[in-house]
């Protein structure tokens, strides 16, 4: 056990360098690569991974503190999830435009106030996906316009109940957990300063 070091020193000692990269599947959504990497001990390792364009997640709050949640059936795990509105960044789109577009398309709301909260990585073992978190406030009616293969239901739930749904396990989507918790921290720690 050691004390936390500087990131720079560690980066040198643990980094894995790309040697060869082969695209093994190119789908509509998924782009899968099989690479050879030079490992820290100079041996060669195989790395299979998903290339992803990145995504945005939106925590949207009404002035009374209600949060907009959606419930959506997700095919891979074959079940419904409680989620914050979110979606992939389109080619050439900036993340803020993605966030504003996804909020309106999925929930029918626009927001007058936006705050960038931070980012996280959902699946570091096999994907390069980054998700940007936005806080949206000052909600006003816009136009719901879901993708043609997208079906979901929209709800408003008091923010403190949403936090409770994380701790009870009712919310179990890591994207939603990470986004809500970062916004909770922002509201309690940073905005109060």
């Amino acid at each position: 056990m050691k004390n936390p070091p500087s990131n720079l020193r560690l980066k040198g000692s643990l980094a894995e360098q790309k040697k060869l990269s082969e695209k093994v599947f190119s789908g509509e959504l998924l782009h899968v690569f099989k690479d050879e990497a030079i490992l820290p001990d100079t041996s060669i390792g195989r790395r299979e991974w998903i290339q992803h364009p990145g995504a945005c997640a939106v925590v949207s709050l009404f002035s009374n503190g209600d949060c907009v949640l959606i419930q959506q059936f997700r095919y891979p795990a074959q079940q419904l999830f409680w989620e914050v509105p979110a979606g992939k960044i389109d080619r050439g789109e900036d993340p803020f435009s993605t966030a504003a577009r996804e909020l309106e398309e999925e929930t029918g709301y626009q927001a007058e106030e936006w705050t960038y909260i931070g980012h996280f990585y959902p699946a570091i073992g096999y994907a390069d996906e980054i998700i940007h978190i936005y806080l949206a406030e000052g909600l006003i009616p816009g136009h719901q316009n879901m993708d043609k293969d997208e079906f979901l239901s929209v709800y408003r739930v008091p923010f403190n109940e949403v936090v409770g749904m994380i701790h009870s396990g009712e919310i179990n989507d890591a994207k939603t957990i990470s986004s809500i918790i970062r916004v909770q921290g922002f509201l309690e720690r940073d905005r109060m300063k």
Copy 2:
């Protein structure tokens, strides 16, 4: 906007039924499928997804409240991450055995007290992966034994500092965020009862 419904009613109206499934890539780590699904409006949708055996994440605490974190270079995003020890469930392995094995292999510690905290899904848009969260206490020295292509550094950080690293964005791995926050809730809400 509606009030939250029962999951059962929604499940019927939003579910997507598997029609055809084709395995398009079978790797050492990733198993990729391209399916046709019957959508809620009876149209056919394409669904690309990753089949994953599931994983376990371990939040391990010393009696003074220090938490074991590892720092590991992750190839897909080409950067170092702060993480809790975690790993895939081997074929035929039960999740608790995975958790105990990964804690010892990655950190060199065994634990005398184990608590199952809950589970989450890291990437519901394209993977069926479930991650089980365990709290490990009563840590005693064991034998570190990393996979031959695994390189990482082990640290101990006070638990409240770990929570601070989530809110500052220094910890940005969703698996680690979700696991730490669920354990924080357990320690503050459930254990005190």
